[in-house]
Symmetry: C2
Subunit: 233 residues, 2 copies
DNA sequence: CTATAATGTGACTGCCCAGTCATATGACTG
DNA sequence: CAGTCATATGACTGGGCAGTCACATTATAG
């Protein structure tokens, strides 16, 4: 953990340091990320950095935990309208909110992505734990879906968890690359992306998952013009 | 490109250098990968390295192209039994062969993964080109699927390409992590993984894709015991 | 104001790096 | 044999790095 001096810093200075550090660790390996660069860009002395953090590793862990924490907080701040809703409506919400987060703080997203999928410079249980918790979350969602009757019980649960978690995790980066969005612009709120097209794409993704997961004799919720099994209102 | 001296090297020495270099670039960012480490581990002098390659970048590009080339060759060496087969049978074959490759040369896979999804240290058209070709390949497959009637034409093609390509790309690494396989053991052919479970998982993945992509009034090829629409033989 | 504690500083250490180059070794030619 | 060319070598250069430390500055307390 950072030292108390770091948390005593005026908020603006603390945020600047974090911003610069996130930028550094978002774009580079742990080994390549440079404390010298961070202090230079944040306009503080090398020595000061070591008043705030034990060492490079300390900062790194803090950033990774920050990423997990911020995402959790963000989701909590935008709760689903109805916790009892159908699984696929829930997934739609989760994807929407997740993408809003990813598109507003893409660099934190990269820090997390690197830590989970690219490198674990310290072997590290913490990351294992964060990742496991995320997977368990998806698993419990899907299990609820099975119980609700929204997910075909014949589907292999491990595979379903893999598919949903990876697609959700990849989708943000895919979008950013596809639309050639600049991470800096996104963070500053300057990026002009077409919300309409994007929610369209999310719809396609959810629709695909629904086709893949819902039991066969299904109510075709996705083509409301098609003959369904629901009674007319 | 490497210099002619590199290709004139006795095969064994050349392969050792490549092996060590792949290991280095598989585990680290371009910036962190160390020529000094490579030459030390390969038992050659620093100066010799620069007889073989222009510079670090030269080696890096060569490795990335090698990865693409090797994968292409591997696929060509294991052609599908029937090029006219149903899309999902074709995808099953593609996944099977792709995974065989990924599990026998996981480090090359990592080099490619880093180059495509993690970092482009040189802006680089080459990588764009490789990636685009892969995506176009998936796209043409899926388009053929639509023409065959195996893929619902209502499905958004971009989304389908995204889903199939990412899941196929992620599946190998997922498997390796899940089964805690050691990359070194895999490369040496020492890893004991249970082929049975793995092909089971592949079946689950293909089955999911089929559910998600095939048109609705579908012949249920995946649960042959379920009532289908085919006439009894 | 003075004394003490907390915070800020940047020159410095030892280390590793990519890339160079003068020199050495070997291989082939006449 | 001598001469020429290709290849091998490792000490060396300049630069970046994480982390340290003696000292400077600022805040707090008595």
């Amino acid at each position: 953990m950072p030292k108390s001096t770091f948390f005593n810093l005026p908020e603006e200075k603390r945020n600047l340091i974090l911003e610069v550090a996130i930028d550094e660790f978002a774009g580079k390996d742990y080994d390549s990320a440079s404390i010298s660069q961070i202090v230079a860009r944040a306009g503080i002395a090398k020595g000061s950095f070591y008043q705030y953090f034990e060492d490079k590793r300390d900062l790194y862990f803090y950033l990774v935990e920050l990423a997990a924490e911020e995402k959790k907080r963000f989701l909590a701040r935008h709760p689903p309208p109805d916790p009892e809703m159908d699984l696929f409506d829930y997934l739609r919400w989760l994807l929407r909110i997740g993408m809003t987060f990813e598109l507003s703080q893409p660099k934190l997203g990269w820090v997390a992505f690197r830590a989970i999928y690219v490198e674990r410079p310290f072997g590290d249980d913490v990351l294992d734990h964060v990742q496991r918790r995320a997977l368990d979350y998806y698993r419990s969602l899907l299990q609820m879906g099975v119980d609700q009757g929204s997910v075909d019980p014949e589907i292999d649960m491990d595979m379903a968890v893999f598919i949903v978690s990876r697609l959700f995790a990849e989708y943000g980066r895919h979008l950013i690359e596809r639309e050639q969005l600049s991470l800096d612009d996104l963070e500053r709120g300057n990026a002009a992306y077409r919300d309409l097209d994007i929610t369209d794409m999310e719809e396609h993704l959810i629709s695909f998952l629904e086709r893949g997961l819902r039991p066969y004799p299904r109510t075709n919720r996705l083509r409301p013009d098609a003959p369904g099994q629901e009674p007319a209102p």
